[in-house]
């Protein structure tokens, strides 16, 4: 009798273990889709609050680097000032209204937390839905692309950076225009991989990699990094190691990109998918 009680007691503990573990794994594997965004919306605000206090503290230490970055940015902006250009007149001027053609809006945000030592890293920004940030907006830093906004709360936004095993972006070789996918497999936070480039493409170490502008996340031509190593993935395609131009270990300020034509492009894509589905049924 004592043995049976002992057995049930042991089994009881194991049963509780199975229930708790099942619950935990269910939470984990529901993460990949947008359940996660709903789930953590409430927590993002208070966790973000703690992180932003920490970031304020850490910023004193980083002030030198931030000053250098800002000085560089000022120099770049000054280069683009009208005063830096010489007006040349050749006969008839055409009038280009740049405002009407504007497609992307840049919004600045401060990074309050960023990890780079895990398989699935995240970056937290101190600007959320109230600041006009929505999921699926692209994020860039001064040097190059950072990632895509995954979920937002009122005051904070969570970004899936390049350093995330689910991240994928369409990028191309600046020189030749061949395009492929940028992915990251974990490990070194300075190196990502570019796959699907055909072996017929001319590639050299040191070539620039830029965004294609195919997606609604980033404008075309934003810097991604430089080719560091060329490997052959299989008989048809290269596997290029890319030295990322953004150092994720010292992110400070980023810009979130709003694509004004996102809805237009998305609805067009949806229409095409519906058409494809309709023809498949026929």
């Amino acid at each position: 009798m004592k043995n049976i009680v002992e057995l049930i007691k042991r089994f009881y503990v194991f049963l509780i273990y199975l229930v708790l573990q099942g619950l935990a794994l269910a939470m984990l594997f529901n993460n990949t889709n947008y359940h996660r965004a709903e789930f953590i919306r409430n927590s993002t605000d208070w966790v973000g609050g703690i992180y932003s206090k920490r970031a304020n503290l850490a910023q004193y230490i980083k002030l030198n680097d931030i000053n250098d970055e800002l000085a560089l940015e000022i120099a770049e902006l000054r280069n683009e000032q009208p005063t830096s250009y010489e007006v040349q007149r050749f006969g008839i001027d055409s009038l280009v209204d740049t405002l009407l053609n504007q497609r992307y809006f840049f919004k600045t945000a401060k990074v309050v937390n960023a990890t780079s030592n895990r398989e699935k890293n995240y970056v937290t920004l101190d600007r959320g839905a109230l600041g006009g940030i929505r999921p699926d907006m692209g994020v860039v830093a001064i040097g190059g692309i950072v990632g895509v906004v995954r979920s937002v709360s009122d005051h904070y936004a969570m970004v899936m950076p390049v350093l995330h095993s689910d991240f994928k972006a369409s990028v191309k070789l600046k020189k030749s225009g061949y395009y492929g996918s940028l992915v990251w497999q974990g490990g070194n936070p300075g190196l990502a991989e570019l796959i699907d480039i055909p072996v017929t493409a001319p590639v050299q170490v040191g070539d620039s990699i830029v965004t294609t502008g195919f997606s609604t996340y980033y404008p075309a031509g934003i810097m991604v990094g430089l080719v560091e190593e060329i490997q052959q993935a299989n008989t048809d395609t290269y596997l290029l190691k890319i030295r990322l131009s953004v150092d994720f270990r010292k992110l400070n300020y980023v810009m979130v990109i709003e694509d004004i034509r996102k809805n237009e492009i998305d609805s067009l894509n949806n229409q095409m998918e519906q058409l494809d589905a309709a023809t498949d049924h026929r």
Binding site: V13, L23, I40, S43, K120, G187
Partner: protein, 174 residues
């Protein structure tokens, strides 16, 4: 009893914050060495804690940790596993006459050999479970093994140092 509940709660909250704000930022060898010291709070639970309670506390601690560090469920599942393992390891390492009610799983009460054995086994189980579930692929097998071993070692060293920092002052005061 009440004192213990309060002490353990404060310890858990403090260590989770320490992990999220300080230790988790360590980036040694590009993430190869990544200690998770917050499990120290779970290893400090008294021997008399029932097994189910250890698992429930572990679950809640892991959940709290998950809010800070990304995918919800990752630390929760690793901690539940740890909570399942801790009572078994305690039983396995228990002296012949069992633990008496004054004993705590600390270096001061149980000796350095016992503590390192206990902490090493628990840390290794937790880190191993955590890193494999995080990656979910066996391609870089040796990298993963090195990752687990080096991170466990780092956690272990930090925990033993922590034991001496916290408890030496206390025992001399008494």
């Amino acid at each position: 009893m009440l004192q213990q509940i309060i002490a353990n709660t404060i310890r858990i909250l403090f260590l989770v914050l320490l992990q999220a704000l300080v230790v988790g930022r360590i980036n040694a060898s590009d993430g190869l060495i990544l200690p998770y010291v917050y499990i120290f709070a779970l290893l400090m639970l008294p021997f008399q804690t029932p097994a189910w309670l250890v698992m429930v506390i572990s679950f809640l601690t892991g959940w709290l940790m998950d809010y800070f560090t990304g995918p919800v469920g990752l630390h929760t599942s690793a901690c539940v596993f740890l909570g399942f393992v801790i009572p078994l390891v305690n039983k396995f390492l228990s002296p012949r006459e069992g633990y008496d009610s004054t004993q705590r799983p600390t270096v001061q009460r149980m000796g350095i050999t016992w503590y390192v054995t206990y902490a090493a086994i628990c840390t290794f189980f937790h880190h191993g479970f955590l890193f494999f579930i995080e990656v979910m692929r066996f391609s870089d097998f040796f990298y993963q093994i090195a990752h687990i071993f080096l991170s466990s070692l780092a956690t272990l060293i930090l925990m033993v140092i922590g034991q001496y920092i916290i408890y030496n002052t206390k025992t001399t005061e008494q």
